[in-house]
Amino acid sequence: MARKISILVVDDEESVRDSLSNWFIEDGYQVDCAENAKKALQLIESSHFDIILADIKMPGMDGLEMLRRIKSLRNDSIVIVMTAFASVNTAVMALKDGAFDYVTKPFDPDDLSHLIRNASKQILLAQENETLKNKVISLDNVEDLIGNSQAMKEVLKQVESVAQSNSSVIITGESGTGKELIARAIHANSSRKYYPLVSVHCGALTESLLESELFGHEKGAFTGAMYNRKGRFEMADSGTIFLDEIATISPKMQIELLRVLETKSFVRVGGNKETSSDFRVICATNRDLKSMVEQGTFREDLYYRLNVVNINVPPLRERVEDIPLLVDYFIKKYCTTMNKPLITIDDAAMQRLGEYPFPGNIRELENMIERAIVIGNGKKITLKDLPFGKDMIDNSIESLDDFEKTFIRQILNKYSWNITRTAKALKVDRVTLYNKIKKYDLKPDE
């Protein structure tokens, strides 16, 4: 863990000092305050501050003079000046004298946090450069990513190596395999982690909504647009944007997206000013984008721009070793949230889970465990707490055919028996799907 960053707030107004120090303490910084320049300089002589946030206009020695003195001490603190009026002149003077930046009072919470994060990033980078030489990079903030299988280790290795770079990443894998979790892990281990991770579920929005969601809009751009609004690309500035279900976006949006990725700038809906933003893109899809490119439904140029690195998350049935770990983890998770004593699972139930193909992957396993805890006896999860109905227990899966049948039924149910969508998800044509339905005598559930 890096040490706490220290901040000194210098302002003659008590309410300003209190407000700012409260805000910084919540952010985990070490904070001191001084009510005038003289006191501040005394503090600076006796201890080091990473960031000094100083009012320009104070009785006695003003902020500019204080800045000059700090800098003449050859002090490496980052100084940010606050000014009560948008007086560009004084601010520019301060910048010339070595201030890192300035803010106009009162500030937008977002501007303040951006400013402080910029400054702390600079400090941390300097610290890291010193210690990086012989340090092995290890993943932080991934305790929620369970898995000890070789397959999962490979995925984590990829997460680790790609996190530090700026490249676009496409995460592929069946539904429920943990794609979104992987995206979070990449962000949380990148140098962008101090900035937002903004996710957009592309599949859930219509084309025009998606457009204003991504690019923002100006007041009056359409009926109901009563305020200017930042888009997701703007919010992801210095951070990461996660575009989930990327395969669902329309041809028009594909073109617009490509343009934004190339120029890193865009125009708000109903606006005319180019806005730029420094973001990293991570996408996810459970479709085969490559074949969509071949079929002409996904733009090839966009595909190549997004697919700099591809992380494929294997389905759960290809990493059954992880099932016991996941089961333990979900038992803990749900017993804790439901405020129940920890329970266990019996061997027969565990074995049954190990044999089941989990078409819905980890999400399905998670739901099963949650349900079992709710309906169970509060001590042990047994077979009867698991949703393997009568048909599944007596004809448990022993052949590839059984497997295929179960799998197809699950996907059909998932898409409410919409043949076109199911066929798409299974990557077969509709005729093949009809034949399978006939072969296995599948029928919609009641």
Binding site: W23, D27, L112, R184, L197, H217, Y227, K230, T337
Partner: protein, 181 residues
């Protein structure tokens, strides 16, 4: 003797169902019983005519004085626009390791940003905000984990990105602090 509890005080009108949902979520997260109270405090003395907003520092102080002996933590819930002197607005604030916090609905509704209202989303956002401020009173600071409720956010959309739960790390810190009592 009554057990220590968390008290949520509403200032201004909140639906009964809305309040119950929040209480339920708070109880689930912090494992204390939750009491809902209504306050009829006149908010006009907290209004700053120059900024046409309500002073968050003074309100936090007022909530603190309303807090009762058996109450471990108190959160004041508002529907007015909050500010603190140096910032243009806040969603809420709390005393780190203290007794009280405040949170406001005002900037959490879709309508504020020209989008169709969504009551479910509003409830979610406000619940997260209340749980977040309570986290501060239990000594938790902002967390880097992307979906942790203690991640700081300055836009409503930031709030939408996170869960209404503490991540493992924060949970562990909370449990450790709890034992130390």
């Amino acid at each position: 003797m009554t057990q220590p509890n968390i008290t949520l005080i509403s200032f201004g009108y909140f639906g009964k169902h809305f309040l119950e949902k929040i209480a339920e979520a708070v109880k689930l997260e912090y494992k204390y019983s939750v009491i809902i109270k209504e306050s009829h405090l006149d908010l006009s003395e907290f209004f700053d005519p120059g900024r046409r907003q309500y002073n968050g520092n003074k309100l936090l102080h007022a909530v603190n004085t309303l807090s009762m002996p058996q109450t471990l933590k108190t959160v004041g819930m508002f529907s007015v626009d909050l500010f603190i002197p140096i910032l243009t607005y806040i969603f809420g604030q709390a005393e780190l390791n203290g007794h009280s916090g405040i949170a406001s609905l005002y900037r959490l509704s879709n309508e504020r940003y020209g989008i169709a209202p969504d009551d479910k989303l509003l409830l979610e956002r406000f619940t997260k905000e209340v749980i977040h401020e309570l986290g501060h009173t239990f000594g938790l600071i902002h967390c880097m984990t992307p979906d942790c409720v203690m991640r700081s956010g300055t836009y409503v959309e930031d709030i939408d990105q996170k869960d209404q739960h503490l991540c493992h790390n924060c949970r562990r810190q909370l449990d450790a602090a709890d034992k130390a009592w």
